[in-house]
């Protein structure tokens, strides 16, 4: 048998090929939310993992702590999400070896964007919200699309319940226009407990109408004292 070493050819399969087709992607559902405060950040995600119209498990965490002060919540295609988390973990380990310190949240935000864009032509189907404390100890939230376009803001939601939750957050948290003088801060004047209560309300509401959101919500709160977790059950239908 003789073979010629050739670069991968795109059109090898005939177009009339019969048989089961498969997609490399699946949507495993779920919603992620984050709210930034003056000295805290709250990140939350539901714990349901679905495929099609079935629930695979009711107790799966979409939240991943990457650094001491930085937490990633991602919904979308679970295999890509997990692979992305591992990728960032590995990169963070290397950074720590090289710089002898942890990455800051804004630095991780840029790294995540670059990591996503690296696979621009076979994307990570992951809808991310990155939350944590910035270099000055203020809360920061970064929101992403699947290919890495990102923005820092005071609050955000991503995933299947995004469109249900975002308007509620806008109503409660939206700050004045950036054109207003004097310039206003982008973070929210809510207290930590008020932010957590708001998150619980938004998830309970989203779970009513979004079939992919439910079972439970996991809430992570980061402040100068460290990281704490809360969970709250949601409707299981």
């Amino acid at each position: 048998m003789s073979m010629v070493f050739a670069p991968r050819m795109a059109e090898a399969a005939p177009s009339s090929h019969a048989g089961a087709s498969w997609s490399p992607y699946d949507n495993n559902g779920g919603t992620c939310v984050a709210i930034a405060g003056a000295d805290y950040c709250v990140i939350a995600a539901d714990t349901r993992m679905s495929t099609g119209f079935s629930i695979l498990t009711r107790d799966y965490s979409k939240i991943h702590q990457i650094t001491e002060k930085c937490v990633l919540a991602s919904s979308g295609f679970q295999a890509d999400v997990r692979s992305l988390q591992k990728n960032l973990d590995a990169r963070h380990q290397i950074y720590q070896h090289q710089h002898n310190k942890q990455m800051s949240c804004p630095a991780m935000a840029q790294l995540l964007s670059n990591t996503l864009y690296y696979k621009r032509f076979f994307p990570y189907y992951a809808f991310n919200v990155l939350g944590g404390l910035d270099n000055e100890g203020k809360g920061c939230v970064y929101t992403y699309d699947a290919v890495g376009s990102y923005e820092r803001s005071g609050y955000s939601s991503q995933g299947s319940g995004q469109t249900l939750i975002m308007p509620v957050l806008d109503n409660q948290l939206k700050s004045a226009s950036p054109l207003v003088l004097p310039p206003r801060e982008s973070s929210t004047p809510l207290t930590e407990n008020e932010a957590v209560d708001l998150i619980k309300d938004t998830f309970a509401s989203a779970a009513e109408r979004d079939i992919y959101t439910g079972d439970g919500v996991e809430i992570v709160i980061i402040n100068k004292d460290g990281i704490r977790r809360e969970t709250m059950p949601l409707k299981r239908d």
Partner: protein
């Protein structure tokens, strides 16, 4: 079979070997060559499955993990093979069950054999546990999906190590999760609801087996690719025991079956 003319295209490493390391490289088989070729040339190996297995069910009980499956290998709508082993002991304390393409499952068990041997050869007092193997299989399945050449299986991996019981699933595109009770394929629709109602912590071996059999019976009634010949595997810290195949008691003596044409009118 290798000829010296192939030197220029023989890969330096086995596919997936970046995921484990050995001090020796086993003989390169033609299947490995073909798979690694897919990184260079569009090779479609698994565009559709041929001989398939249906649901696999698993649950955790007080002594370990119970996993069950029937022994059918379907070829489309035909029940072509009726004595197919769809569960295999991976190591002393871990079991793998698979639904989907049987040949891909067999390739996976060969891969795991080599992995377990390589790990045992370190002889360092620590062997791969069910969590490690679950994670490894997730990476294998996900990497194949990334090359657009998936292993067409949904795998169930269960075991016990150091008293910790583990039961998880991996799909053909790398979606994976862990739970107290798991099912694949039709089992997601028919068996999981039964488990969600009736599973509880620390079930006895008896209770666990009865619950699995109840779900398998529903699958036999309602899944056309299921047959009434099942095996139940019991995985504990001490070992893996797969039962001999046996049948469940099913009820077909229903009124509607006694005179099937009674309500038929006309020529149809």
């Amino acid at each position: 079979m290798r000829s010296s003319k192939l030197i220029s295209v023989v890969p330096r490493t086995l596919p997936e070997s970046h995921l484990y390391s050995f001090h020796f490289i086993p003989t390169l088989r033609s299947i490995d060559f073909f798979q690694s070729l897919s990184a260079y040339v569009a090779v479609s190996m698994s565009r559709q499955p041929y001989v398939t297995g249906t649901s696999v069910l698993g649950l955790i009980y007080e002594g370990g993990v119970l996993i069950a499956a029937d022994t059918a290998g379907s070829y489309g709508s035909t029940t072509r093979f009726k004595s197919v082993e769809r569960m295999k002991a991976v190591s002393n304390n871990t079991l793998l069950g698979a639904s989907g393409e049987i040949s891909d499952f067999q390739a996976i068990t060969q891969l795991l054999d080599r992995l377990i041997v390589a790990d045992a050869m370190w002889d360092d007092g620590n062997d791969l546990g069910p969590l490690d193997i679950h994670n490894y299989l997730t990476r294998v399945m996900y990497n194949r999906r990334n090359k657009f050449d998936p292993l067409w299986n949904t795998l169930i991996l269960g075991g016990v190590k150091n008293g910790v019981k583990h039961l998880g699933s991996v799909s053909m595109i790398g979606v994976h999760y862990v739970d107290n009770h798991i099912a694949t394929g039709f089992g997601i629709h028919l068996a999981q609801p039964i488990f969600r109602e009736e599973w509880k912590e620390n079930m006895t071996l008896e209770e666990g087996t009865r619950l699995l059999e109840k779900a398998l019976l529903v699958l036999f009634y309602r899944d056309r690719s299921a047959i009434n010949k099942i095996q139940v595997a019991n995985v504990t810290e001490d070992g893996v025991h797969i039962s001999q195949p046996y049948a469940l008691k099913s009820e077909w003596n229903l009124e509607a079956f006694k005179n099937p044409t009674a309500s038929a009118a006309g020529s149809w």
